[in-house]
Symmetry: C2
Subunit: 115 residues, 2 copies
DNA sequence: ACGGATACTACGAGTTTCGTAGCATCTAGA
DNA sequence: TCTAGATGCTACGAAACTCGTAGTATCCGT
């Protein structure tokens, strides 16, 4: 009812979106992620179009090249995606401070959120 | 140099960790995620042990049963994992407020973070 | 000691992705 | 305009992977 999100579609979109942000071509992204230059274009294209799914180790290398945490590529929720990127830019001290603040007031709210 | 994290290992650990938090057995987790009861135990076990990788649609269903965002299962960084869980418990208004605050002060810091 | 629940694994069958070899479109330069 | 290069994309058989089956081992409660 509420949520039947297609995670594969999410992955495709986040991947393409992040690649375009870096300005890389499909081929160059693949090459920088360690793929053979002769197959890089083909394979990255298939991941963005949704024909195939890459295995986790490649996903991780792609994320590194794209400058995002691996988790970012699997965010169904745009707010969560934004959060991850913003958090990524913080210093360790700032991260800890934010976590402390968030985790302290948890369980206060009952979370009447619907989605 | 710095980071050669094994994302597969991360996935295994987050999966098991989240399952134990819910108190479900490997079998029951699989069943609730829609697997045939006769293969549920076997398959979930292989994912936790790292023998095989599930496809994205199953990962998504597992995350739903476990009550975490799909992205959570791919967090290399513990701090990011904590953040995602904490963020998940906020109301939409609180999420927006937090994002606004984080995104406004971005680009102020140069992010001298090393890891 | 028994039965049941849980975690785990080898093996062949089945399903998926991979590499190859292309095609179509667009742009820049001759 | 014609060509060359870059980019995005796809069908096909081969290769690599996961799947279901059929088990084993261990622990726990009765």
């Amino acid at each position: 009812m509420a949520r039947q999100i297609n995670i594969r579609l999410v992955f495709q979109q986040r991947l393409r979106e992040a690649r375009l942000r870096t300005g890389l071509s499909q081929k160059d992204l693949g090459i920088e992620a360690g793929l053979d230059p002769f197959v890089a274009s083909t394979r990255i294209n298939r991941y963005e179009v949704g024909v195939h799914e890459p295995d986790l180790s490649l996903v991780s290398r792609l994320a590194q090249v794209l400058g995002v945490p691996t988790a970012y590529l699997f965010c169904e929720d745009d707010r969560l995606a934004r959060l991850i990127l913003a958090f990524d830019g913080l210093s360790i001290a700032e991260k800890e401070r934010l976590l402390k603040s968030l985790e302290s007031k948890k369980s206060k709210r009952k979370s009447t959120v619907k989605s």
